[in-house]
Amino acid sequence: MHNRLQTKFSGVTVDSPLVLPAGVMGMSYSGMSYSAVHGAGVITSKSLTLQPRTGHKGPVMAGFEGGFLNCMGLCNPGIQDGLREVNDFKERSDTPVIVSVFATNMDDFLQLTHHVNESAGDFLELNLSCPNVFDEFGIPLAASAEEVGRIVGAVKGISKKPVIAKLSPNVYDIVSIACAAQDAGADGLCMINTVGPGMLIDTKMVKPVLHNKFGGLSGPCIKPIALKLVYQTSSAIDIPILGMGGVTYGNDAVEMWMAGAQIIGVGTAIYYRGIEVFNMINQEILAYLDEMGYETINDIPRLEPIL
């Protein structure tokens, strides 16, 4: 039968608009499989760095009303072992894979790009949204339109894969950064990464709950912020957006689409609804199409853009 959820992202056809985002379940080929089997249409790897990282000490995750804080600290097995998981997954599945990479200087970003070029991954995602990058980039990278443009441009120059720039919501003017990424040749944007950061305090032990003190917010409570930033950005750019942040139900995914996203990430919702969340949301989008009389997801209208 005709797949009513099929859509396209930067030239690649996807069977479901739902994306497993970076850092969620994408640590191993089997975690990717498990998500794809349950209905994710695109898989993103954990953000990979040149060298392995153990990440922060625990607690690295803390729940609160409406979401979670996390300070995983970019734990990952390094680009080589990480790409092995990507390749192992691609041997078993046709599902498109976004390889997320993270670095603190230009040289590392370029090296990572060379690695990804040789992998079975379908997209290269630059995680430009870590709040604490003080190596080469003087101010947090994600906050500087100029630096974002410089990196995207250089990576684009050598990448064999379409390049997605992942942006932080915690900047003063995300649109100028999105435009810089587009002008530098980005094939798409991924937004948003976690919000804040925030903190929680244990009142009996008088300690921050997270060992790293602060962690980024994800989950249902960031959806309004994500929708606003995706809407604002999609009104200003032409490249497609992978929208995410708090999407938990089919209606959230449709909102994200209306705000301007072409494909839609579902991360923290796995906690709330189980790994079956992808299939559930797919079904809920289909029910929405039926109710509203739309043939396929691509018929769902967008909000009128902001002028």
């Binding site: 379940m25 975690g31 000490k57 803390a62 729940g63 995983m72 709950v209 906690y271």
Partner: protein, 260 residues
């Protein structure tokens, strides 16, 4: 919502030189096989199985193996520790004739299981093994419980020399069991598995855990990708037989595969 609670250590029981049991006054509501995440907010949050659980208190049994557990051994009764959970899957509760196979610090969660099995009328046999007599835990507790109980050490310091798998093999040869449970070192369970082709069973697994709520992906097992913190740590036979990584490798804090 995922909830954290900070509790005073009500009691510390020294089991062996390297193993302590910590009891907390709290209605945890855990099922046998489930675990909690524990932290002292000094760096590190680690999974521990529920060794026993009542309406007014629960306990965990901890082996001193590294930085975090060493700090735990310096805590006093009355000190605060913070937990979240219970998490994960729990053991099937059979009311028939069952065999519980424990090894090392893996045995304590079988205590809570045995108690629960007795409650529903099961015929319970427990075999417990460790490296030396000094490493063996919960012997008296199992005996008081009124289950059939055997123990063994690798160094023969209790008389017989061998592992709990050896004890189990003998029992399985001479008797029929309706269900087998095991918890302990992975290589022990791997050895046990080859004895259990004709049996229904569940094993309690350990993998590196960070989030414990099924999203970070650190505890997934190859090739199916089920998460030990959600679909596990208790795994039924139907999953165990599919796990290509079982007894071969696990993943460390970076996600790297580490051979056993």
């Amino acid at each position: 919502m995922d909830k954290r609670v900070t509790l005073k250590i009500a009691r510390i029981t020294r089991e062996t030189e390297l193993i302590n049991t910590y009891t907390f006054k709290h209605n945890l509501g855990a099922r046998p096989g489930q675990f909690i995440m524990l932290t002292d907010f000094e760096g590190g949050e680690k999974p521990f199985s529920i060794a026993d659980c009542h309406a007014d208190e629960f306990s965990i049994t901890v082996k001193k193996v590294g930085e975090f557990t060493t700090r735990l051994f310096e805590k006093q009764e009355g000190d605060f520790l913070s937990i979240r959970g219970p998490y994960g899957s729990s053991f099937f509760i059979s009311n028939q004739k069952v065999l519980l196979v424990g090894g090392g610090y893996g045995t304590p969660p079988l205590y809570y299981l045995a108690r629960t099995l007795l409650d529903v009328g099961a015929d319970v046999t427990v075999v417990n093994g460790a490296r030396t007599k000094e490493d063996l835990v919960f012997c008296d507790r199992f005996r008081h419980l009124g289950v059939r109980y055997q123990s063994i050490t690798q160094d023969g310091s209790l008389g017989q020399e061998g592992t709990s798998v050896d004890l189990a093999r003998n029992l399985l040869k001479s008797e029929h069991f309706d269900f087998v449970y095991a918890a302990g070192p992975e290589m022990m369970m791997k050895a046990l598995m080859s004895e259990l082709a004709d049996y229904e069973y569940e094993f309690l697994f350990e993998r590196y855990m960070k989030c414990a709520i099924g999203i970070c992906g650190n505890c997934t097992v190859d090739p199916i990708g089920i998460r030990l913190c959600v679909e596990g740590p208790v795994m039924p036979k139907k999953y165990v037989v599919q796990l290509t990584e079982f007894g071969r490798y696990h993943r460390d804090a970076t996600g790297k595969r580490i051979e056993f």
